[in-house]
């Protein structure tokens, strides 16, 4: 196991050697740390309303100021990170699992099934993301579950297609034919010969998709269709700030800043991961 450990250490060093990778790691760790230790870092309750403290500008007691209900924005922003990150992780994991299975089936299965899946993927993908989200939220009512369903629906076709294309290419690769000629069955071919070769690039792509997921959650919450108030969410804070943008711009800044930091962090990290581990992917733009 020490070999794997030293490999992991070597990879980490290669990532940190890139300025962008370093920045990405720092930003991501900062945001994750903020979310995990939100209670320790921010003394104030995120949902505690105090009418006396309404619309206070940034100060030492309220690092990012307060909102229209007098809630501490710093605390709300940190707690909002919990929502954003847990939505991102859970729904990305779910999309990956579903996308990989469907992609393998489409790529390795019979031609008609492949055509059917591709048609389905393309149809889902052709709904503009936000429109689809709006429709779904209208139908199911605003909730975190609805947001996650949207994310899965949006991500699965993309992941499925990537896995399917790669599986299709590998299906006729000589090492797969070689395994078949030895008598390897479908399960063995998929598990031993195809999956290890397609999963790596997908994991990197998925890490680069986390900002997109964060954006969907924040966007829906901004429209009032994501988490229910008073749960702290970056999108909701941004909406509060947008309503009062002319007089108290700090609320909008408090909502937008963490979104910018986390999306940049994950994107820089993902880019570096890709450059370090899979330079071929760069080609695909």
């Amino acid at each position: 196991m020490s070999e794997a450990a030293s490999r992991a250490y070597g990879s980490l060093r290669r990532i940190l050697a890139e300025p962008l990778g370093m920045l990405g790691v720092v930003l991501v760790l900062l945001m994750i740390g903020g979310a995990v230790f939100a209670d320790l870092l921010a003394a104030a309750e995120p949902n505690k309303i105090s009418p006396r403290d309404r619309f206070l500008g940034p100060s030492l007691t309220h690092l990012l100021g307060t909102d229209q209900l007098g809630r501490d924005l710093f605390s709300r922003a940190l707690h909002g990170g919990r929502i954003a990150l847990s939505v991102a992780l859970i729904s990305t994991a779910a999309s990956l699992a579903i996308g990989v299975v469907l992609g393998l089936i489409a790529g390795y299965g019979p031609r008609w099934l492949d055509n059917l899946m591709i048609l389905l993927f393309d149809a889902i993908k052709s709904f503009p993301t936000v429109m689809l989200a709006l429709a779904l939220v209208t139908l199911f009512g605003p909730s975190l579950t609805a947001v996650m369903v949207v994310v899965v629906l949006v991500n699965v076709p993309g992941y499925g297609r990537i896995i399917r294309t790669q599986t299709l290419a590998l299906k006729s690769a000589q090492f797969v034919t070689a395994a078949q000629s030895m008598g390897a069955g479908t399960v063995r071919v998929l598990r031993v010969h195809i999956l290890p070769n397609v999963i790596g690039p997908l994991l990197i792509l998925a890490s680069m998709d986390i900002p997109v997921v964060v954006a969907i959650e924040a966007g829906l919450s901004f429209l009032g269709l994501g988490v229910r108030p008073p749960t702290p969410s970056w999108g909701a804070i941004l909406n509060d700030g947008f309503t009062a943008i002319r007089d108290t711009p700090w609320i909008a800044i408090a909502g937008g800043l963490p979104i910018i930091l986390i999306t940049l962090g994950f994107t820089f990290l993902g880019e570096t991961l890709r450059d370090v581990f899979d330079p071929r992917l760069k080609r695909q733009g």
Binding site: T177, A178, A179, S181, R188
Partner: protein, 326 residues
């Protein structure tokens, strides 16, 4: 006979949905392979030799004919029926590195046949034994395919092929992608193993000189048919089909004084979608006569030396002089 191939055809459907046409990639091929014998299939790209190999191995469905391996029909058989027989028939593929799964170590690659067939054995020991049999040290077990040279990767391929003690090995272009100085190593290895293990072998190649040194009998393919088949020695001495003669002359000896006798075929290989009439080689044959464009030549099965030509060549024949000025 360990393998009997009778009159098999492989059809592919190509083209767009509304204009789908079928092409005959293998057009009625018959031959036998005896235990312990090396048989060579020779042809250029598009001759159907690789498709034929896949059909024998059950990786490709046939539309006609019979393939019998160790007394059992194997054409169009389902994977379940075929699996026990696969222990006895091993394949080696063209690309030495590409036929090894890129994320598996050499040790696992060599052990894979045992795992597939659920054979309980000391895998580590067996892997070492096989690697040493093909001339690789045990350290190679921990390497990945991309860390191997072409020749080393080819040896790993051989180790995988002989792992389960097969009766027949089908080797597709075993020297492809290898430098001249390494080609010999692989051919010598195959020759040695064949003698030591008593295997039968089918070698598929476009390089006739490779065939000369390893094969007992050979068949030359053109557009999915065998145009000439017989003892290697005799066919090299006196090729009877014009195409065989051309192929033989196309890979000249490295001798500036002898090299100028090559037979040139300016015309392109016809498309499988538009097979020529009569003898299918007539569009390129330097010895072509009127009859060739009309009647397909007939070959009898089972003769020692088969030639599909109306006018077989006399030994040492040279093509009729033609006008080279254009």
């Amino acid at each position: 006979m360990i393998l009997t191939v009778r009159d098999i055809e492989v059809t592919f459907r190509v083209g767009p949905l509304l204009n789908r046409r079928s092409i005959l990639a293998v057009a009625g091929v018959s031959f036998d392979v005896a235990p312990g014998e090396t048989f060579a299939l020779v042809g250029e790209s598009g001759s159907g030799k690789t498709t034929l190999a896949n059909a024998i191995n059950g990786l490709q469905d046939t539309s006609r004919g019979e393939v019998t391996f160790m007394g059992q029909r194997v054409d169009n058989s389902n994977p379940g029926e075929m699996k026990p027989l696969r222990r006895h028939m091993a394949m080696m593929f063209q690309d030495p590195v590409g036929s090894l799964s890129p994320r598996m170590k050499v040790g696992d690659l060599v052990a894979e046949p045992f795992r597939i067939h659920g054979i309980r054995i000391n895998l580590q020991e067996e892997t070492r034994r096989l690697l040493s049999l093909v001339g690789l040290s045990g350290d190679f077990a921990d390497r990945y395919p991309h860390q191997l040279s072409g020749g080393q990767a080819r040896r790993v391929g051989v180790a995988r092929a002989i792992a389960l003690d097969p009766k027949l090995i089908i080797a597709d272009e075993p020297t492809a992608g290898l430098d001249v100085s390494v080609q010999g190593e692989v051919l010598n290895l195959l020759n040695d193993l064949r003698e030591r293990l008593g295997l039968a072998m089918i070698i598929i190649t476009h390089n006739l000189h490779v065939v000369h040194h390893v094969a007992d009998r050979m068949a030359v393919m053109y557009l999915g048919r065998i145009v000439e088949a017989g003892e290697t020695e005799g066919m090299f001495r006196a090729p009877a089909h014009p195409y065989t003669a051309t192929l033989l002359s196309a890979n000249p000896e490295p001798d500036p004084d002898k090299a100028r006798n090559r037979i040139s075929l300016p015309a392109e290989v016809p498309s499988l979608l538009a097979r020529p009439s009569g003898c299918e080689f007539h569009t390129r044959c330097p010895w072509v006569q009127d009859r060739c464009a009309m009647d397909p030549p007939y070959t009898a099965n089972g003769e020692m030396h088969r030639i599909a030509c109306h006018y077989p060549l006399a030994p040492g024949a040279r093509p009729p002089a033609k006008d080279r000025a254009l």
